[in-house]
């Protein structure tokens, strides 16, 4: 059959009225009709098989073993996206800051995990476990304790930034507290050698890659990558709108970072630790992205 598109330089079809709706029935049994039927059948079978393969492939992905609340392939993609974000991350990129007057008067609260146990604010201490390869030694012998006054002795940073909840809403809030990096500059607990962070852009080589924050009752816990933790807009926050934190906002000390969704803004910090591996994260165990970064 000589029905393949011919390569002779005939004149192409000029603009014309669409053939839709015309009677385009081919002579039954003609070579052209057989060719049209053959190509139609082949193409629709191909599309059908591709559709079936797509459905089966997607169902296969969904049937893979669970990895912290989501099928493993989806978890791997979330983690790969996180690594890509980390490679693109620059500590010089700052979240936009707003005028203090643009901050909301009444700050919305959302979530009380980790806040439901009794707390004696006067007796509260921030516990920090220095970065060490020998975890048991660090846990039992070298844990340092800080009072709120110790944190307030660090330079007070006030910033008005947008808190973005993973649910999709956002509010502009006026926060005040100490930069986490200033805390580590004064108390060099995040390096193996004990050397302080002098330059955020060039941190010491033995700086821990991850930070863990846990509430005193250990009911809520988040993990952060160190680059986000030592970003200049990451605060150990003790004030909202110039007032000490209320209990529902995380008194006496909470984390604030416009580099992460609100789920990472742990309220009522009990213990901070440093780790080689990604620390446990409350929402990442329930199907959410561990990085949750902005």
């Amino acid at each position: 059959m000589a029905l393949e598109p011919t390569s002779n330089p005939e004149k192409p079809i000029p603009p014309h009225v669409s053939p839709d709706g015309e009677n385009l029935t081919l002579p039954p049994g003609s070579a052209l009709d057989r060719e049209a039927t053959r190509r139609t059948r082949r193409s629709f079978i191909g599309l059908g098989l591709a559709g079936v393969a797509g459905v089966l492939g997607w169902r296969y992905l969904l049937s893979r073993p669970d990895a912290d609340g989501t099928p493993a392939p989806f978890r791997r993609v979330l983690d790969a996206n996180g690594r890509l974000s980390a490679a693109y991350f620059r500590e010089t990129r700052l979240a936009p800051e707003f005028a203090k007057s643009q901050g909301v008067r009444e700050v919305r609260t959302n979530g009380d995990a980790g806040l439901n146990s009794e707390i004696d604010l006067a007796a509260w201490r921030l516990k920090v476990r220095p970065y060490a390869k020998d975890i048991t030694y660090a846990e039992h012998d070298r844990t340092r304790e800080f009072t709120l006054a110790d944190i307030k002795a660090l330079p007070r940073i006030e910033m008005t930034t947008q808190l973005k909840c993973i649910e999709g809403w956002s509010i502009v809030v006026n926060w005040a507290g100490a930069r986490f990096v200033d805390f580590l500059a004064k108390y060099p607990l995040a390096t193996l050698s004990g050397q302080p962070i002098k330059d955020v852009a060039n941190p010491p080589a033995d700086l821990a890659p991850y930070v863990s924050l846990v509430t005193p009752d250990e009911e809520y816990y988040v993990g952060l990558d160190m680059h986000s933790a030592i970003h200049p807009q990451t605060l150990l926050c003790y004030e909202i709108n110039g007032q000490p934190l209320s209990l529902e906002h995380g008194a006496p000390l909470r984390l604030v970072t416009p580099l992460k969704y609100g789920i990472k803004h742990l309220k009522r910090i009990g213990t901070i630790a440093f780790a080689d591996q990604r620390p446990a994260d409350y929402w990442a165990e329930q199907g959410y992205d561990w990085d949750a970064g902005h």
Binding site: I13, S18, D20, L259, G287
Partner: protein, 235 residues
């Protein structure tokens, strides 16, 4: 003389049929995400014409309480949507198919003629070259919408690292609205597209699967391909 005229190259058919389920799942997972903060509505002041979405919609679709799952799907399929769309654009550029797809100086007038014809208000069907003016506008617009979804999506996804983009789009809240509006745009596109495909009939629909269309080709214009030039201006 009836001929099988090659209409849609294989690559474009693949891009089209890959995009269809991927975009559908992006919209579906997007609705799972949107549900967690479903604040948009059509209206003004205290008057609401339509809330996105009424409880009856959620009751019918069961797309509530799936935020984490929605994000996991969305942030996987975004890569497929992006890569497929990028390959499509590159293919149309390098194959010359863009000549049929981009609007030209006749397209706006032609689009009006097409619309009037389709509404039964104009007798004469306009001349087309694979796509009519309305199609050129629609198929170019939907690609720009795809780019818009990628950019507004990135602005919501990484609003600090891409702060310039987020601010350029009017801020985080505005970018989220824009991302949502574009999605509504796809739904409207889909409704019109499917209706038009239904109207155009089997010969046209088959061409998006099998590639060819049966045409009554005038003698002397027998080559089964379409002229890549712009239509001649009519007298």
């Amino acid at each position: 003389m009836k001929k099988l005229v090659e209409k849609h190259p294989l690559a474009i058919r693949w891009f089209h049929w890959v995009n269809f389920p991927v975009l559908a799942l992006m919209i579906w997972s997007g609705l799972w995400i949107y549900w967690a903060n479903d604040i948009y509505r059509l209206g003004w002041g205290n008057t609401t014409l339509y809330k996105f979405f009424p409880q009856s919609f959620y009751d019918a679709t069961h797309l509530d309480h799936k935020l984490a799952q929605g994000m996991a799907w969305h942030f996987l399929l975004m890569w497929v949507f992006f890569i497929n769309g990028l390959l499509y654009v590159l293919y149309t550029l390098f194959s010359g198919e863009w000549r049929y797809l981009l609007p030209n100086r006749h397209s706006f007038r032609e689009a009006i003629e097409v619309t009037l014809h389709d509404l039964g208000l104009r007798q004469a069907a306009p001349l087309v070259q694979k796509y009519n003016g309305a199609q050129r506008l629609a198929y170019t617009a939907v690609i720009l919408m795809g780019l818009g979804s990628l950019l507004t999506g990135l602005a919501i996804y990484k609003p600090t690292q891409f702060g310039w983009l987020t601010q350029g789009l009017g801020g985080y809240e505005a970018a989220r609205v824009e991302h949502f509006v574009l999605t509504i745009g796809y739904v409207l596109f889909f409704i019109v597209h499917v209706a038009q495909v239904g109207r155009a009939g089997w010969n046209n629909f088959r061409s998006m699967v099998a590639g060819f269309e049966i045409e009554d080709v005038p003698a002397g214009a027998a080559s089964p391909r379409l002229a890549p030039r712009e239509p001649e201006p009519k007298a």
